[in-house]
Symmetry: C2
Subunit: 380 residues, 2 copies
């Protein structure tokens, strides 16, 4: 897998096509893609100008390489390096990105390129969706989480004081370049957090993939063919859901498995990443979703134990008690859930499951049941 030549690279590389009609695009997955980005972009886009949006963590590692690769094919690139972190997804930074993109005289056929994780992808994608009412957009995700989740599907957005991702657009990328080589520079914790979303695709509707992960997770963590395979399978799973429901009016909600509890825990820890990052919240949330489904007699408790055993094996937190520091009482967690979700006459929409790989959307979950369950799992 430490391929040194372009030929060897393409042998290791995977392509996932997202068939969205006139918005169809390719996801390339493999090592060395940042160095080859110029060729891949030039082959697909007419424009010869680009604006690269990145952050202070990623820029020192990959920005020069990306700019050089674009220059080699005659694409001029303006660059903007933003602060890292969730706070960057703001109206103020959206203005700055739009200003940079307009200042670079990006036209409809030119591209905004997001080089970074989910924060940069969501922000740059939003700008690409609104400058001139939409210009081309290329995602170069540099975290496992963004490679398997946020870079695919076209959801973009920023946060406001009313909540996360409440302002944005659907704007599909024209190309996603998931350079798996960059994952070697991630911290173990960050890689694990992204892995929670990989496991999620198995739990939604791919029991065989979940079993494969149970058997092969160490190779996925070590890098190599299994890692590329896991990312490609995740991208394909995400793409299938997006194609079925591009604008999230129905089945796309399945992608939220584990996220309702997860979001509540993120809110309860004030989005303090030293205590809990998104993927960790999702890991705990997925275990809770399986346990809650068992409590409702929908699934066997064995499934919840199997999910927990796997996530624990890879080193992810699986219980509320695994989060350092005190959590607020169950009632406060319940308030966060109610705020995240529409509550209609005391009923919540929830992703539940009948077992591994058998999740479904339930739109009539009694809020009182959720609260009882939370009190049981998190006695004060």
């Amino acid at each position: 897998m430490n391929a040194m030549t372009p030929d060897a690279n393409s042998a290791a590389e995977r392509l996932v096509h997202v068939p969205l009609g006139e918005r169809a695009y390719d996801i390339l997955i493999g090592p060395g893609l940042i160095k080859r980005a110029g060729d891949e972009i030039a082959a697909r886009l007419k424009g010869r100008k680009a604006a690269i949006i990145t952050d202070v963590h990623v820029a020192p590692l990959y920005l020069d390489s990306l700019v050089a690769s674009l220059e080699r094919v005659g694409i001029q690139a303006a660059t903007l390096v933003l602060p890292a972190g969730e706070k960057t997804k703001s109206f103020e930074h959206l203005m700055t990105v739009c200003d940079t993109v307009l200042g670079a005289r990006i036209e409809r056929n030119d591209a905004v390129i997001a080089l970074g994780g989910g924060v940069i992808g969501d922000l740059a994608g939003f700008a690409a969706g609104v400058v001139r009412r939409g210009v081309r957009f290329v995602q170069v995700p540099t975290s496992l989480l963004s490679q398997v989740d946020s870079s695919v599907g076209g959801k973009t957005g920023i946060n406001t004081h009313h909540g996360k991702n409440l302002v944005g657009v659907f704007h599909q990328p024209d190309l996603v370049l998931a350079d798996t080589g960059v994952l070697d520079t991630l911290s173990e914790r960050e890689f694990r957090a992204g892995y929670a979303e990989v496991a999620k695709y198995g739990l939604i509707d791919k029991p065989d993939f979940f079993a494969w992960l149970e058997a092969n997770w160490q190779a996925v963590f070590a890098g190599g063919a299994e890692r590329i395979e896991a990312i490609a399978t995740s991208c394909r799973a995400k793409a299938d859901v997006v194609v079925a429901d591009e604008r999230e009016t129905g089945p796309r909600a399945l992608l939220n498995l584990g996220h309702t509890f997860g979001h509540a825990l993120e809110a309860a820890t004030a989005y303090d990443s030293s205590r809990l990052v998104h993927g960790e919240g999702v890991a705990i949330g997925m275990v809770l979703a399986h346990e809650f489904s068992a409590r409702l007699n929908l699934a066997s408790p064995d499934d919840a134990r199997r999910v927990e055993a796997h996530l624990k094996a890879v080193g992810l937190p699986t219980r509320m008690g695994d989060i350092p520091g005190a959590l607020p009482p169950a009632e406060t967690l319940m308030d966060a859930i109610a705020q995240d979700k529409k509550v209609k006459s005391g009923k919540l929409t929830f992703i539940l499951t009948r077992g591994i790989g058998q999740s479904f959307i339930a739109d009539d979950v009694p809020a009182s049941e959720v609260l009882s369950f939370l009190k049981e799992k998190h006695p004060q």
Copy 2:
């Protein structure tokens, strides 16, 4: 036309359907629609919440009536009254509008309602397109210009220091309520400016409509059936172009007839509405486009004279010399045109014509020809 009962209203009313698939919508045109807005909105939208965006000029005239009409059908409306004028189309005001809409807990099936002219429609439409990645949107245009142009077609946006309308989204309304009764409160000058866009539809590809306007313009200005007929024909014309090219990749550019020269004149007068408003710039621009086409031996000079005679008859300016105050030299106007347009190897894209109602897109107009023409029309 001073119908006092709903029945008489509906007799006078026109409906233009815009068949855009799942984004299809109706435009209702007639008197008394603001008072009936609640019924029309409730009949089409599932949500029971709304946020009305308006400005300080329009609010005292119609806001109470609109809010009362919504309340009668059980729709709760938050309201936001903004400063009037082009400067309101800014990032700062977009933030304020999004904040109001989120604060009103507007969900996907609830509506943002724009009550005002083009500025309010463009700004509120942009917010409706991005809050929760798109909520329902109702246009209640209160100027002739917005009734026949900006409220139809889904273009939304704001201005930046790089230029006008450079940031925005395509977000079709779910309903347009063009209350023709409100036009009686417009100033003569504002009504005339909107009329320039009405005449434009005749000049693009409807020679019979242009001839009808020549014969009936006084009745259109006086109000009554002819006014409703002229607005409905304009909305139908705009809708046809939008359906053919929703995202402006081709024929929609025909709607820019007269706008290239017009925008340059607006820029040359620093968007000072005491000297020139948009519709007046378009009027002069349409005469120039016909004269320029004649100069290129594409059309007869008689057509340019006929266009000028009609616009002059209704009281619109038709020559650069009609603009109060001094204009910059032709070279400066040319710079503004070049900045407005993409100039490729000295060639410009321009809407030209072969005669009344025979306009077309020319993408190879030599910039040097435009400059010579401007020098001839505007000798220093």
